[in-house]
């Protein structure tokens, strides 16, 4: 299963969500499908995409938030799973693309390549709904179900260790950040 195919399969489902991604190959692939003002790419601070999603989800309880995480990033901040599980925001979906590799820095294997089980860790941390998916069909079904139902969920998608050749896009980090915040403000204005 390719991460790009997964992203393509759920791209239209992300339209109404606030999306936070990790750095590297994943945001480059998502932008190759088309940037949207509701996408924020955290192009560093590995591990903090999930914490950012938690901040958004707690501050905006009526807004669906999707975090697009990776094995390397999540392994840097495993404690965040326990914090997510502690507050269980019903509007947060935590998607982890596990390619068993630090692909963006040369493909060095992570601990999931030697058996560390991210779904098991999420479940043991207290995340109420967890699953591992291995095909695009399973992935799409699981994500659509999660987005349309209430409850914190972690979905681990096992994907191949492949990605685009280049990661830098023409969207500047600050442009993305200010656009994202302004987009959220415009949503708030609409609901008033």
């Amino acid at each position: 299963m390719l991460r790009l195919d997964c992203l393509r399969a759920i791209y239209s489902d992300l339209e109404k969500c606030l999306v936070v991604t990790i750095m590297g190959a994943l945001p480059a692939e998502l932008q190759s499908l088309g940037h949207r003002p509701n996408f924020f790419y955290l192009q560093h601070a590995m591990g903090l995409a999930s914490s950012t999603g938690l901040g958004l989800a707690l501050a905006l309880p009526h807004q669906r938030v999707v975090v697009l995480d990776g094995d390397g990033s999540l392994l840097m901040n495993l404690g965040a799973l326990t914090t997510l599980a502690r507050y269980k925001p019903k509007n947060l979906l935590h998607l982890v693309f596990d390619n068993e590799s630090l692909l963006s820095v040369g493909g060095f294997p992570t601990a999931t390549s030697t058996g560390a089980d991210l779904e098991g860790l999420a479940r043991a941390a207290g995340i109420p709904e967890t699953s591992t998916v291995r095909t695009v069909e399973e992935f799409t079904k699981a994500v659509r179900h999660a987005i349309s139902s209430d409850g914190l969920e972690t979905i681990v998608a096992k994907v191949e260790a492949s990605g685009p050749k280049a990661f830098v896009t023409d969207l500047s980090l600050l442009e993305n950040r200010f656009q994202f915040r302004r987009h959220i403000q415009s949503l708030a204005a609409k609901t008033k």
Binding site: G47, L48, G55, A59, N77, T83, L174
Partner: protein, 170 residues
């Protein structure tokens, strides 16, 4: 426990009057009253962290959502949060109001706290983080308000160091 309840409440009320609605925290002795007060305040979202660096992500998410937040941590927690501060808050211009208990300075009896005290201010200066002290009840409210104002206008992290003189009574 000789942590000043009165001065902790002074700090808490100053945060509230700045409009802070979300507080991330990792407990330490000097922060107990602040955390307990937040816990019993239905208007405050208290997020108990596993590690202080998570608080940078939480505050960023809250900022994007238009919610004002603050971070409560010990100076060793500040050390643990440095990468997040640099590679998120600085990189993306995120305002952070960091209240840091300044352990390991004059009067410190716990040997394990002493190294953190030596490096806290040099690190804040090296990271270009504006900081001031909370060291007397009379100036707490204004200093918190001023720190918050600067964080919001400059879109950067600012630090307030909670000192022994303010927090400890014996």
């Amino acid at each position: 426990m000789p942590v000043s309840l009165q001065n902790s409440q002074l700090i808490y009320h100053a945060l509230k009057s700045c409009g802070i609605q979300l507080l991330s925290a990792l407990p330490e002795t000097w922060l107990v009253h602040l955390i307990h007060t937040a816990e019993h305040d239905p208007q405050m979202t208290l997020v108990r962290l596993a590690k202080e660096e998570e608080g940078v992500g939480l505050s960023a998410g809250a900022h994007f959502a238009g919610v004002k937040s603050a971070m409560l941590m010990q100076n060793h927690g500040f050390l643990a949060a440095i990468n997040g501060i640099v590679s998120f808050a600085h990189l993306y211009k995120i305002p952070l109001l960091m209240l840091i208990s300044y352990r390991g300075t004059f009067g410190e009896r716990d040997p394990w706290q002493t190294q953190g005290g030596n490096v806290t201010e040099p690190l804040l200066r090296a990271m270009n983080i504006p900081y001031a002290f909370l060291d007397a009840p009379a100036s707490v409210e204004k200093r918190i308000r001023d720190a918050h104002t600067l964080a919001e206008s400059s879109l950067q992290p600012v630090a307030l160091l909670l000192t022994r003189d303010l927090m400890w009574e014996e």
